[in-house]
Subunit: 201 residues, 2 copies
């Protein structure tokens, strides 16, 4: 069985960087944006629409016409959410079957539970997340601290909602993960050496 | 400044073993039972009484005469709890000043916050904790699963209460720790190599 690492993360905590660096270090495949790209191919939803579904939960107030052609018999956003989740789960499972990999977000810890992934959750203090978001997110550079905090809380709320919808589990609740890492005071680059040792060989 | 590692842990999760092994590996001093021994010397409370205060929270229903001589002017258990906490904090700070060390339990993550300890929390699934408690705790061998679960929940409830009393923080809440480790599926011995890499040099 391939070795799977899943990474849940708070917005601005550096979870994606950890995932990317870990995949590089372990020479594992890395899946993040790649999942959305594959979804676009398969569902004919636009990338923007898929991202909005993920960001806004399963009942986004978007007109159904934003999707291109895929769902004609389902007028309900709830059903669209379900269809997206089902399709996404299929893609994630296919990726997990292909090779050892690191998968960021998208309920992968739950979707792949039968594969016994090593489940990581990355989090940080709000001040750290604000500073990091300002530094990393080009489009966020000009926001005030208050605006950034609002953005961070809003994205995390959506992630929590999406996770709850997919898994009925509480997002970020430590009992659902093997290792929870607070990046506020650690060096992310150095942490990779530690995480690597935790991952089963 | 000395390097300090604090370990909070759920009962039966193997947190104490992690602490002991980590201290050995890093050649750090290890403080656990030693804190109680020092408390006995200083307060003239019996070891049993101190443990009961810790296990039963700050308002244990014990007769004040269980303590030997220390507190004569304080008839209130709440005050005894406070005095114990104050004395314990002093001892913990003295230990932290002496050398690099690993300290298990006793709100050390909060008590030593100005020393910026590396704060670990160890937890596990209930089934794992039941199995481990049965294996490790001699006096627990004959308890049924139901009785063991009750014991585990009860000890953890007391730890949570004591922690809340000392720090006003929620015990086990991941934002108060740098690394949270779920021992249910990992090898405790191997995990030491990973934790070691996380600890700043």
């Amino acid at each position: 069985m391939n070795q799977i690492i899943t990474i849940g993360r708070e917005f601005g905590s550096g979870g994606r960087e950890i995932g990317r660096r870990l995949a590089e270090k372990l020479k594992f495949a890395y899946y993040d944006q790649e999942i959305i790209t594959e979804m676009v191919k398969r569902t004919h939803f636009t990338e923007e629409y898929i991202q909005r579904i993920e960001e806004n939960g399963v009942l986004p107030l978007l007109p159904i016409t934003v999707g291109r052609t895929f769902i004609t018999r389902s007028p309900h956003m709830q059903e669209q959410g379900l269809l997206l989740f089902t399709e996404q789960s299929k893609i994630i499972k296919e990726m997990a079957k292909q090779s050892d990999c690191v998968i960021v977000g998208r309920c992968a810890n739950y979707v792949l539970r039968e594969y016994q992934p090593f489940r990581i959750f990355v989090y940080a203090d709000m001040n750290f997340k604000i500073a990091r978001s300002r530094k990393k997110g080009k489009e966020l550079t000009n926001l005030s601290d208050k605006e950034l905090k609002k953005k961070i809380l809003s994205v995390d709320k959506s992630r929590a909602k999406y996770h709850q919808f997919c898994s009925n589990e509480i997002w970020g609740e430590k009992s659902n993960y093997d290792l929870c890492i607070n990046t506020s005071l650690i060096d992310i680059k150095d942490s990779i050496y530690g995480i690597k040792k935790f991952v089963k060989k």
